[in-house]
Symmetry: C2
Subunit: 500 residues, 2 copies
């Protein structure tokens, strides 16, 4: 067997253990009673250790060297391009697993768990002083990680952290993209608010039974052609998309006094799910057959949520299906006009996860700027609350002075050291808008949504994004699909068209 084939077989083995890990994680969130958590945590930790051991086996370095030569000597053989991409992605995962020394990983895991666990109550109590003591270690260890990764990859500290979630994305490119957004976003928000001020809107005030919301969710998933032979919908406290490509498990959370969030949440997770379901079978179980990045994943969920879900045409379907589901044909909450207002309402608030489409980028950009400077050592962790307050005042005109729990302590990401993740959300929104702009050249999107048969849209996404998995780098992918590198122009036009 060639070393290339040995690598293929090795990564398929790893994938089988990841399958188990992924399903246990889904089950823990969707089914597991509290009393099961100790044994489950132990089992999942054991699987992690095993996957880490497999991912860092000493012979891999030699296999990668040999496999690269094997492919160099096989230029004329079938599928050589795909094989090279496959090798590149296996090597990437191997590097990610081996770059950071195990004792640092261990220390990070301990410090991160401690900080996150304490944060759950400290946030409630607005206890910055308590939080800061734990967070200090998390930040220090993340800086250490960033330095090691940066050294090995020839990247700056923060770019090395970005590389974990968005391979190829740099501070330079994000600075360009986000400073562009900052030139027009504040004014756009003000204009949208001014426009919406005069509108009247009817808020949901009834009771929306979980069973009816779930049936409605399943109807929407059918409209979005979720493949129920390869996935299912369940409930969990924090909605997510889990499982494996051949069996995607999405979850949502129901609030019986308001259907708005759960419903659009299902649209969002269905976008993630269809990406997974559309990944190429030929590369199933291999790194090259996995989703390209966090940002591209989010581009698909946000394409479903923002480009399809909150469009007027789609909301016509939502209006009809909701009225059916809640047996509320005369309820003015469910008219097309009112639902559209509900789903496009702009509001300057403290909390990112509650933010609307228009203010969301402001939340993300300030987090990006802070974590970039924090990891690069430009600021210290104790500076964060003050900088947060300044940025909130500058971007959304609200202060968080002394309000840590609705300020810099609101998100889970930083508590366990997931620095470099936040930009993915807004990158996803930008990719989605850029894809939409290209799609418009060949697909009559409005007509497809109006007809209720959205296949042409999904076919385009499948051909251009889903089926391409990780065969190309992120930059190559967006250039192949849209003919240009990622830029904020399409995003701006999309927002202006919707909110002005």
């Amino acid at each position: 067997m060639s070393n290339y084939d040995q690598l293929i077989s090795h990564y398929q083995t790893i994938n089988h253990f990841n399958h188990a890990q992924s399903m246990l994680g889904w089950d823990a969130a969707a089914n597991m009673p509290t009393g099961g958590s100790d044994a489950r945590s132990q089992a999942m930790a054991e699987l992690s250790v095993h996957v880490h051991r497999l991912s860092t086996q000493p012979q891999l370095g030699e296999w990668f060297n040999n496999a690269e030569n094997e492919l160099l000597n096989a230029e004329q053989t079938p599928l050589i391009t795909e094989k090279k991409a496959s090798l590149r992605e296996m090597k990437r995962q191997w590097q990610q697993a081996t770059l950071v020394p195990e004792d640092l990983v261990q220390a990070q895991s301990i410090a991160g768990s401690k900080c996150e666990h304490a944060w759950r109550s400290q946030r409630q109590e607005n206890d910055w002083t308590g939080f800061e003591k734990n967070w200090k270690d998390v930040v220090a260890l993340s800086r250490e990680e960033a330095a090691i990764r940066g050294e090995a990859l020839g990247l700056t500290a923060y770019d090395a952290m970005l590389d974990k979630f968005e391979p190829g994305t740099t501070t330079a490119s994000l600075d360009t993209l986000f400073s562009d957004v900052k030139t027009w976003l504040p004014e756009l928000i003000e204009k949208a608010l001014a426009k919406q001020q005069s509108e009247s809107i009817i808020m949901p005030s009834g009771t929306y039974p979980t069973a009816a919301q779930k049936s409605l969710g399943l109807e929407i998933m059918k409209l979005l052609k979720f493949d129920f032979d390869h996935g299912r919908l369940d409930q969990s406290v924090h909605p997510f998309c889990g499982g494996v490509p051949s069996d995607v498990r999405i979850t949502t959370r129901y609030d019986e006094s308001d259907f708005v969030q759960a419903l659009m949440g299902i649209v969002h997770e269905t976008g993630h799910a269809r990406y997974e379901q559309g990944l190429p079978k030929a590369f199933a179980g291999l790194p090259v057959g996995e989703a390209r990045s966090m940002g591209i994943h989010e581009s698909q969920s946000l394409f479903f949520e923002m480009q399809i879900g909150r469009s007027k045409d789609f909301i016509t379907h939502l209006s009809r299906l909701s009225a059916d589901a809640f047996n509320a044909y005369k309820d003015p909450v469910f008219t097309e006009e009112n639902l559209y207002k509900l789903y496009t309402r702009v509001d300057k608030g403290f909390i990112r996860v509650d933010a609307d489409e228009l203010t969301y980028p402001a939340h993300v950009i300030m987090r990006y700027e802070i974590e970039r400077d924090l990891i690069n050592g430009v600021i210290e962790h104790t500076d964060v609350p003050e900088i947060w307050d300044e940025k909130m005042k500058a971007s959304l005109g609200i202060t968080t002075k002394g309000n840590y729990k609705n300020g810099c302590m609101q998100d889970i990401h930083w508590t366990d050291g997931s620095f470099g993740y936040f930009p993915s959300y807004t990158l996803g929104a930008m990719y989605a808008a850029q894809y939409k702009a290209t799609m418009t050249n060949t697909v009559n999107i409005e007509a497809a949504i109006q007809s209720g048969d959205l296949s042409p849209i999904f076919q385009w996404l499948n051909d251009n994004i889903w089926s391409q998995a990780s065969l190309h780098t992120t930059d190559e992918l967006v250039k192949r699909v849209t003919g240009e590198v990622l830029n904020a122009e399409h995003f701006r036009k999309h927002l202006e068209a919707r909110y002005l």
Copy 2:
């Protein structure tokens, strides 16, 4: 670290992978869409291979030798008895894993899968000739396995197969027990049938919605003190009890035209579940902390089903709770008298899984006699249909001549070579009756059931059976608990009291 401690740590590691395997198996039966099965099978096969590798690691033999000496030199230390039992059970699992050469295990797995898969349609088509061709290999390989196990353990061929499911049980003891049963069972069946002939019974004829049956099932589980913090109830095609002791997953199947089976099925599986939930936390994840045997497991489910569930006092609760659940207070189906008749009806039928409490042992004993002679080489696999017909005529007075699908082709067990399993069912029923007889000395069982607080019963089972896990051999366990070895006397008395 001592070799004993190394073994403890090693078996805990194995347990974590078994946790994953168990949950993936439950999920495949309870949740997984069809399209997920290929990837799931691959993941589960990988976990099996890994567990097998861990269970047969070369250094284990030396560790076991050294650990035995370590414990011999530690006679005066705390918990030495438990440690010896723990070592005995780890060693037992090691022997079970290593006794049979891997190429034989592999050949059995292939032949078993092939035979079982083909059987699913061959049974429908009554195709003995087709089945016999595949089964021939399964039988030959099982005989080979039995010879190897027997040689290593100093047992006869069939006793070596019994040892897999009922360690310590022998043909000699089963011959004694079952020939006793055969002296009184046929007459008892005839008398019960004669008695029931004059009774009138009202069969369920309504519609019993799944949701209502599930709520009722959950109520019954509460009455039986199922710990919902460590388990849950779901649906699957074949009801079973899975998961892990800290998170037991039981399933049932609902038939909307008949509540009878699902309801008692839940009682049965709750018995299995409470045994698992009651296993000692101190030995969690170790072989000595696992259920003693298939027969003892079945003794707990059958204690719940036969000794509690079908008692007149318990059926009073079922009557009340079912009338509540189906909102059917005036329906004569749900009177205590009628429900009791439904749950104690005797009927001589072809099919074991549909058999009542009284005829069930006849089905098991004939299977035992046939598989014993088949594995010992006394009969050939081609003799089975004729012998089956003779035994059915002798025990239940019905012929299966030419009726293979309702005769020797009805069960899945033999198709994949699970010889030695059948006796567990009737051993379980006998253990349950014998435990009940002892429990009566110190617990007022009728009063406990009548009061609706069954705790005294469960406390007894917990103290005597559940908390004892595999600390004692099966024979020691039953002698400690009941003061005598297993015998058929209590089973006979129980059946006579209920059916005469």
